[in-house]
């Protein structure tokens, strides 16, 4: 793979495209890596970026033209001293966040809201289902003696017969 990238770099020189003409507005924030490190970082970054013309493949896995172009671009950026964060930010800037296979960890609401709703729902169910404690009826007073059930029943039956 490193031989391939070296060939691509030589082709860049051969056809008058300046390798320094990276065409990114901000300067690189890192140092120029060795060829081995550049290749390793390129592979790692390529697994994070989605092949936009494929179904769920990273550009490392895909053999499409777009994937090849993107891998070359990543290698070029790594070789120029751009950090991984700068390179990811570059692709997000040009293609949007969906260019990444994994989203950036900004959407905490999407991740926690379903759990929150489930907990809230269970809480409401628990409160509604809790058996209510028996309390004295407002009409009764603890100072008044409780009527004998039999006597009370006799009175009710007598009134019903009337």
């Amino acid at each position: 793979m490193s031989f391939f990238y070296v060939c691509m770099l030589l082709l860049n020189f051969a056809f008058g495209q300046e390798f320094e003409d990276i065409q990114i507005e901000e300067p690189p924030a890192g140092e120029t890596p060795s060829a081995l490190e550049a290749e390793s970082r390129t592979t790692k970054l390529a697994t994070l970026i989605r092949c936009t013309v494929c179904q769920g493949l990273s550009i490392e896995e895909s053999t499409s033209t777009f994937a090849v172009k993107t891998r070359q671009r990543i290698y070029q950026l790594v070789q120029s001293g751009y950090t991984d964060e700068q390179i990811i930010a570059y692709f997000v800037d040009k293609y949007g966040e969906k260019a990444l296979l994994k989203p950036l960890n900004k959407h905490w609401f999407v991740w926690f809201a379903p759990v929150g709703f489930v907990v809230l729902g269970l809480g409401i169910v628990y409160i509604r289902a809790k058996p209510k404690a028996k309390t004295a009826s407002p009409s009764q007073s603890f100072t008044q003696p409780v009527k004998n059930d039999d006597t009370y029943r006799q009175q009710v039956l007598a009134e019903l017969e009337d």
Partner: protein
């Protein structure tokens, strides 16, 4: 009927139904087509495929620009080319800059050269109505977030991308946009 329970249930169910209805039409893999809209266009300095000169984006600052990414093997690109020529003829005298940008499918050098040869032959037949630039390393393709061809960008006088056509252009829409930029 317990209205409190009913309303609480609706308060939970309605947002879920709404998000489901919106999401059914949403392809999670589809890229946002307007990521670069209202952002400054990336600068470039590239060789024109007509021998002998370079073209720099910064040379045209202050003029509206139309940059068309295309390829010789792309049928829709060839189909829209007459529309672009017609618009170039109409708007170049008014100061609009039209540029073509090559999108290579080939990865091997000799295959790229063959694509380039065919492109030159095609454009010679079209009498080189406007410059086509050779983005040999395809850096500019990626700087413009291009994933396929044809894609056409309209850039205003301040160098900001105001419109992106994915697929063949709508010449009436493009004409209307250019009228607004002049």
């Amino acid at each position: 009927m317990n209205w409190k329970v009913m309303l609480t249930g609706l308060a939970f169910v309605c947002p879920i139904v709404y998000f489901m209805a919106v999401s059914f039409d949403n392809d999670p893999r589809a890229l946002d087509g307007d990521v670069l809209l209202n952002k400054p266009a990336s600068a470039f300095t590239l060789n024109s495929i007509e021998e002998g000169y370079k073209i720099s984006f910064n040379d045209y600052k202050g003029s509206p620009m139309v940059i068309n990414f295309w390829a010789i093997w792309c049928e829709p690109c060839l189909a829209e080319h007459p529309d672009l020529l017609e618009l170039a003829e109409r708007y170049k005298p008014k100061g609009v800059v039209f540029l073509g940008m090559l999108y290579y499918e080939a990865q091997e050098e000799d295959e790229k050269r063959e694509e380039l040869r065919k492109t030159k032959a095609f454009l010679k037949k079209m009498k080189y109505a406007y410059p086509t630039l050779d983005d040999w390393t395809q850096s500019t393709v990626l700087n413009y977030g291009v994933t396929g061809v044809p894609e056409t960008f309209v850039i205003d006088k301040e160098g900001v991308i105001v419109k992106k056509f994915v697929g063949p252009i709508d010449k009436y829409e493009l004409s209307s946009i250019l009228d607004g930029l002049l």
